[in-house]
Amino acid sequence: MAENGQNTETVTLTIDGRTVTVPKGTTILQAAEELGTTVPHYCYHAGLSSPAMCRLCLVEVEGAPKLMPSCVTQVMDGQVVHTESESAERMRRGVLEFYLVNHPLDCPICDQSGECKLQDYVHQEGREHGRSREPKRIFGRDDFGGDVLFYGDRCVMCTRCVRFMTEVEQKPLLTVVERGNRSVIDTFFEQGLEEAEWAGNVVDICPVGALVSKDFLHKARAWDLDHAPSVCPSCSQGCNIDLHTRDNLVQRLKPRANLEVNQYWMCDYGRGHYEWMNRGDRLEAPVVRESDRSVAMGWSEALEALKTRLQAASGGVKAVVSPYWSNEDIGAVVDLMDALGGGEMVFRSPRAEDESVLPGFPNLARRRDLAPNTTGLAALGASRVGDDGARGGLEDIDAHSGVLIVLGDALVDVTEGFAESAELTVYLGAFESAALADADFALPITTFAEQEGTFTNHEGRVQRFWPGLQAPGAARPAWLVLGALAGAISDHEAPIRADEAFQTLRGRSSLFEGLSYESLGTRGARAGEPATVSGD
C-alpha cells in the first residue's frame, strides 16, 4: 500500500500477445486501452457505471468457458486475453449485425455521421451486408426538452444517457420504458430535460445519433469541423473544451476530458454561450482620433503615434480590463503600466446568484463567477469593481485625468462623455462599442477564440487554449500590441510568441511560479503541483 492509501498492487497479463502491467482491479478493457487497443464498446463509459449489456466488448479469455465482457472483467495475473481472436471477432460481427437490424441507416441526414461509433465499428469489422430483410421497427422522434432531441430508431440502447442523468447529474429524468425489443429511452410523461443543467452531456456520450443537439441540428457535418482545444469562457471553473468550427464560425462547444477539472462533462450554460465568439461587429483596424476626425491606420503608424502620446502623458495610468481576456493580455497591461510609471487596474465581471454543482463530480460546478479569468486578473493586481451584472463601479475612472486604458470591457453602461477628463483614452477591444466615441486610440484585438494563451481558473489552475478562429482584419492579440508598446517605451525586447508572453508573467504572481508554457500541456497545471497527465 502506498502512503496515500491507494492500492499499488499490480497485475501482469497478456493481451493480444503483448504484456501489460496494470494496477489490481483494472478491467481488461482499461488494460487494453493502456496498450493502445480499443475494444469496441457502447455501454461502457469511463465516467459511468458499466452494465455490460451492449455485449460488444466481449473478448476471449483463455480458460474461460465463454467470451467475457471486458468492461467489467477484472484483470488477473497471468491472464491471456485475445481481443482479435476468431471467436471474438465473429461475435462482434454478429452483435454489430444485430444493431443494424432495426437501425434506419439514415447516415446521410444524421448529425452523428462521421463521429458515430456504429458507423465506425461496422466499417471496421461489420458484415458487408446485413442479412435482415424484415421491416424495421419504428419509434420516430421525440423532443426530450432542453437542447436534446431523440431519434429513437438510431438508438443502440446503451443507456449511457439514463446512467448519466441518474449517476452523474443525479436527476433521474430519463429512463428505459417497455421491455425487450420495445425498449426505448424516454422522459417521464410531460417532464422533460428542461430542469436539467447538464443534459447536453447526454448528447456527447450518445455513441450514435439518437440524442442530438437542437442547436447544432443539421448545422454542419462532423468531418467539416475543425477542433481547437480550448477552455470554456463562461465561468471560472475552466472546463476543458474543444471549439468546433467551420467557415471561421464556432459551431458548437464540446467538453474535452480532464479528470482534474471537468472529467468528461460541461454544463449546459457554458455549452450554450458561444455565439458572441461569432459576432460580426468587429473592430478590424486601429483607429486614431486626430482633432475632429478618426483615421484608420496601420499598426506601425498607430503604435508609433500612441507611444509618443503615452510618453508625453503625465497624469498616471488607470486601466479597466476584462476577465474574458488571457493572463498574457492582462500581464501586458501591467507591463505597460510599469513602463509608464505604474498605475491602477480594475475589472468588472458578472456573477450568478449561486453555483450549480454536478452531484456526481462535485468538484465541477457552473461557478458563481461567470468569467473565465478573474483569478488571473486578481493575481496580476486588478481589483473587482461594479455589481453582479458587470456594471457600474467606474466613477473614479470617469474622473481620472491621466491615461485611461480599456481592455476588452465594452463599457456598455457608460454614458456619452465618459472619461472626458482623461488626458488620453486607449481602447483595446474586439467589438463595436459606444465607448469608442470617447477613445483617442481604438485598437482591434482578438478574443480568446482567436489567439493562444492561458486562463487561471477558480482554484488557480493555469490552462492553455488554442485559436479556433482566424482573427478579423488587423486584429491582434492584446499582449502582442501592448507588449510591443511597453517594449518600445522601456526599450526591452517585446514578446512575439505566446510562450514568451507567458514567461513575462513569472514573478508577477505566485500563481505562475515554476510553471512553463510547455509543461502546461493541454490540461493545465497549478503552481507548486506536479503537472499531471489525465483524461482521455
Binding site: M53, R55, L58, V95, F98, Y99, N102
Partner: protein
C-alpha cells in the same frame, strides 16, 4: 399423489397431500408430520444441515439443476452482513405448473423448507417471491405464513430455538425475466427486473447487496423430507447424479395431463403412454419438449429412448430443465409452435443485451414470414446462424432459450419447414 390425476407408479413425497384442503392448514399439516423436520434441523448445527442436503445430492429444481447443498455452502461464514434466503416462486416457464401446486396445496411444506434453508445459511430473513398471476397460491401462502407466525414457528424465536426466522411474501408483477435469479433480486429491491452480470455471484453480492441464496420452491419443499428421513433415504430413488423424486408437469396432447411425482430416471415413454394414459385420440407422437419451452425439442424417436434425469435428457439431446413435459402429436404445426415460443421469449426479453433484444425479434419476424408462406430456404440458414450468435453472448440465458427451440426444430423437423416454404403445406391445416 398427482394432481388432478394420480398413478400407481408415482412416488408421492412432495405431492402426497395435493388435493387435500386440510393439509393447507397448520393444524392439518402438523397432523401430517409437518414442522418435525424444522424442529430437527434447529437442533443440528447449520453446517450439519447443509452437509445432509449435500449428501442427498438434491439438485436445484428451477431448471439449472445446480446441487443445492453445494450452493448453500458458498455462503460466507461470519461475514458480519445480513444473509438472505430467496425462494423463487416466480414460476413462469411455459409448461411449468409444479410450484403453483406446491404453494396452493402445501404452503407449510414450502415454509418449512425455507426455514430450514435459512437456518443452514445463516439468514434471518426469507423472501418468497411469488409470480404476480398466482392469486390463489399467494393467498394460501400468506395465510399459512400468518399461521406459522401465530404458532411461533416463525418469528424471533422460531420453535423456541432462539433463532430468528422471518418470512416475507413478495408478489411480482408478472414478468418472466423476474424468475431469473438476479432479475428477481432487482425486482425485489424495487428496480427493473434486469438480470445482473455475474460475477459477483449472489452468495457474495445478492439481494440488497448482501450474501444471498436463491432456491426454487420445489427444491426447498424437498429439503424438509431430506432432513426428516436422511440423505440415504432420498437417494433410494433416481440415479447417482440425479437422486430423488421430481414433479413432472405434463401438458399437451396426452389423455391425462397434470403433475406427477416420479423418481428421476423415469422413462419418458412410460410417462406419456402409461402414466398419462397415452396420446389423445391415440394419435402419433411427433415431438416432446422435456423441460419447459426453453430447452431443445426431442423428436418422437429421441423421446422414446429418453430417461427423465438430468444426465439422461442431456444424452437424448435436450435438458431436463424444470421437468415440464410438453407433448405434441402429429397434428402439431411445429413451425407455428416454434414461432409461438420464440414470440414468448421476444416479448419477455428484458432488452439489456443486444443479441437477445434484437435477435429474438428478428427471429420472430423470420418465423412469422415462413409461417405465412413467404419464407425461403435461405431463411433457415439465417435462422440457424442468427440464433447461433445469440448463444452464450448475453448476461442471462433467456437468449439461449430462443435459440434452443428454433435450432432443434430446424434440425429435427426441417421437412416441415421446407414443406411450408416450397409448397405452402401446413400441418393441421387443410
Amino acid at each position: 399423489m398427482g394432481y388432478p390425476y394420480s398413478h400407481e407408479k408415482e412416488v408421492p413425497i412432495l405431492s402426497e397431500h395435493f388435493g387435500d384442503p386440510e393439509a393447507r392448514t397448520l393444524e392439518g399439516w402438523q397432523k401430517r408430520g409437518g414442522y418435525e423436520a424444522l424442529k430437527k434441523a434447529l437442533g443440528m448445527s447449520p453446517d450439519a444441515v447443509t452437509e445432509e442436503v449435500k449428501a442427498s445430492g438434491l439438485r436445484g429444481r428451477g431448471g439449472a439443476g445446480f446441487p443445492c447443498g453445494l450452493k448453500w455452502s458458498f455462503m460466507p461464514k461470519d461475514s458480519g452482513k445480513p444473509h438472505y434466503l430467496l425462494c423463487n416462486a416466480d414460476e413462469s416457464e411455459p409448461g411449468t405448473f409444479k410450484d403453483r401446486e406446491l404453494l396452493r396445496w402445501t404452503p407449510h411444506q414450502v415454509i418449512e423448507g425455507c426455514a430450514i434453508a435459512a437456518y443452514a445459511i445463516g439468514a434471518e430473513q426469507i423472501y418468497i417471491y411469488c409470480r404476480g398471476e398466482f392469486f390463489e397460491a399467494t393467498q394460501v401462502l400468506a395465510t399459512a405464513v400468518e399461521e406459522a407466525y401465530e404458532a411461533g414457528i416463525l418469528g424471533e424465536d422460531a420453535m423456541g430455538s432462539g433463532t430468528r426466522i422471518d418470512v416475507t411474501v413478495h408478489v411480482g408483477a408478472g414478468a418472466y425475466i423476474c424468475g431469473e435469479e438476479t432479475g428477481l433480486m432487482n425486482s425485489l429491491e424495487g428496480r427493473r427486473g434486469l438480470p445482473r452480470v455475474k460475477p459477483p455471484f449472489p452468495a457474495a453480492v445478492g439481494a440488497f447487496g448482501m450474501p444471498t441464496t436463491i432456491n426454487n420452491v420445489e427444491t426447498l419443499a424437498a429439503v424438509g423430507h431430506i432432513l426428516k428421513n436422511g440423505a440415504e433415504w432420498y437417494r433410494q430413488w433416481g440415479t447417482e447424479k440425479s437422486p430423488g423424486t421430481k414433479l413432472f408437469c405434463v401438458s399437451g396432447h396426452v389423455k391425462k395431463p397434470g403433475n406427477y411425482e416420479l423418481p428421476l430416471h423415469f422413462p419418458l415413454s412410460e410417462l406419456i403412454y402409461d402414466v398419462c394414459g397415452g396420446i389423445r385420440d391415440d394419435n402419433e407422437l411427433k415431438a416432446v419438449i422435456p423441460g419447459g419451452s426453453s430447452v431443445p425439442l426431442l423428436s418422437a424417436e429421441e423421446a422414446m429412448s429418453c430417461h427423465l434425469c438430468y444426465e439422461g435428457v442431456v444424452e437424448a439431446g435436450s435438458m431436463l430443465g424444470c421437468a415440464s413435459v410438453i407433448v405434441m402429436d402429429h397434428t402439431t404445426d411445429i413451425v407455428r409452435q416454434v414461432r409461438r415460443m420464440a414470440y414468448f421469449y421476444m416479448h419477455e426479453s428484458c432488452g439489456q443485451c443486444t443479441p437477445c433484444r434484437e435477435g429474438s425479434a428478428w427471429v420472430v419476424k423470420i418465423l412469422k414470414r415462413i409461417e405465412e408462406g413467404r419464407g425461403t430456404e435461405e431463411d433457415l440458414d439465417t435462422l440457424m446462424e442468427v440464433t447461433d450468435q445469440m448463444v452464450g453472448t448475453t448476461i442471462c440465458v433467456l437468449s439461449d432459450s430462443v435459440a434452443a427451440p428454433v435450432q432443434s426444430s430446424i434440425q429435427k423437423f426441417r421437412n416441415e419447414y421446407l414443406a411450408l416454404i416450397r409448397r405452402g403445406e401446413r400441418v393441421g391445416v387443410a
